[in-house]
């Protein structure tokens, strides 16, 4: 899966104070459907990683999230793939 990922900026906003108050759960916005979606802490961490390094390859996203969460790559890979697919379908993340 040699694809890269970037945030669509109009659909994601990080706010240090509110992110912490919400225990790093957040909302994202599908600009095509005007629908707001809830994102859990795992998803938040993925979005944050991609936002920091736009165009990150899938393997690198997996590596970084595994480091952040202290979990093995094989434990997170499937969940990362599922989340990114969902975000791509919801026009929150661009896949290239």
């Amino acid at each position: 899966m040699d694809k890269s990922y970037s945030i669509i900026k109009r659909g994601v906003l990080f706010h240090p104070e509110l992110d912490e108050l919400n225990d790093f759960r957040t909302v994202v916005y599908n600009w095509k459907t005007s629908i707001t979606l809830g994102v859990n802490k795992f998803g938040y961490q993925i979005l944050k990683i991609i936002d920091t390094s736009p165009g990150l390859m899938f393997e690198e996203v997996v590596s970084q999230i595994s480091r952040v969460r202290g979990e093995a790559k094989w434990q997170v890979e499937g969940k990362v793939r599922y989340f990114l697919n969902k975000m791509v379908n919801e026009s929150v993340v661009i896949e290239a």
């Binding site: 109009r10 659909g11 906003l13 706010h15 919400n22 909302v27 916005y29 005007s34 809830g38």
Partner: protein
Amino acid sequence: MRPDNSQHFFAQFPSKALKNEWMAEKLAGMVKLPKRSFPNPIFIRSERDVCAGYAVIYDGTITEGELLFICRRRAWKELINRSADLVVVYVDCRERKVYVVTGQMGGFPCFYSLADDCVTISTSFSRINACLSARHLLLENVVEVLLWHSGSYPCDQTIVEEVKQLPPATLLTIDSGWKTQTQPLISWEETVEPVVPFSSALGFVDELVATATGVVAGYLKAAKNLKIGSQLSSGFDSSLVCYLVNRFIDGKAVYFTEHSPLLVQDTNTEIVAKFCQRHGIMTQLVEISDLYQFSSAKNGLKVESRGDYVTDYGFERHWGLNTRMSNDYGIDAVFSGEGGDELMGSHLSEWKKFPIQMGYFLEVNTYMNYGVDKVLAPKAIRIFNNRKRWAKKRVYPSFISPSALAIGQQYFPLYWETGVWHMMPLADPRMVKVAARMPKELWKGTRKQNVWSLRPDIFIPEQFVPKGYAQSWWERFLRERKDLLVGILKKSVLGEMGLIRSGELVRLLEAERFEEISLLAVVQLAIQLEIFLQKYKFTMVEE
């Protein structure tokens, strides 16, 4: 004879008075509280402290003594938990501190400045701005004003760096070393507390109407012995308010319906007439065709700024109606249905948990979809798209939505200076708390129609139609004031700063290609800002 309402609450303490002396008698003399028929000013002075301001309490009363006791105990929460419009300045000469507190409903804006060796506090931006010896223009905030940003999120700054704004339900503290601190008085945890939805739609709607009944009664009590007006359109919100006002003061209120052949999509007078017939209400039809934006600006190219970039010349409809209510009918306070739209979104918990993210999504996506880049120039678009602008915003928790709060915060001068106090019972926090418990069965489709279809005793079938956009009304200023707008835009300060496409707007106006001009609200505010910026001298502060 109506009183002179042009004066605003204004306090100015020079550095000497706050650094060394702290004499209550002297400080009290520096507070100007204009007398009015409503609201009444509060002014208490002792040897140790001064308490001054205005408070309109809608859920009971607070005596001056009680207010002083609250201030002395610093029990600010007791004040801001009330359904009230208020601004209070408290000076404690022993502790050597100035406190300023604003009410949670936002009816009184509060601006302050520490420039020119003075602490200046006022409900009027223009009053403080006029005193400044130098002004620094904050480009980021100029762009926010162009985008009506305060409707997406409360503002704590103005376009002038030297003048700050204190948002609703916020405490400002200034100590003898002139260290300032602002503190939101509603906690985020309070606003996100889970609520239990009503188990039945009917039970919910009945409770909403019962609460509205109690709220309107409280507002009428707060304005007792005053001449009351109530605005009535063919929509649900103003109809509900008029219905309730009429129940309490049958025949003693004056009802107003703004109408114009250009505004039938917004207010259908036939529907209004049927609603009035049902409930025994007599409404005054006020023709407002000629009260469009900039209609009162004198002919010729020189338009004098009145000092307020938010309300000058852009709200002639409201100035005109309020002036008529005041002069012709002696109205002191007017009810409106403002806040009714926001009420129907009170159940959306994401707005409470993620107010800044939601404000960002709303603002950025709405304007991108409507082609904001046709009005704003690339530099402004860069500021508009900059997520850091949002990421650094402070959290100001509130039960009331920013767009409902913005009405008092932004349009205060037109209510204050016409002497007609604006009352919005549907934006009252008690209403918001009930509306937050809307059962899921009412969420889908047009929520307002779902809700009010359960009260056929109040609303008539003809009201259940979607409101349209009155394009011909909103673009009238382009057609009627073309020469004025071209004259202003040819000297455009915003264009020179690289913020608006003034040249392109001039070209479209001169060619009378009005239909190609998008985002009329942004164009309107750009012209208002131009009138302001072309009067005063500024130093620019880049983002």
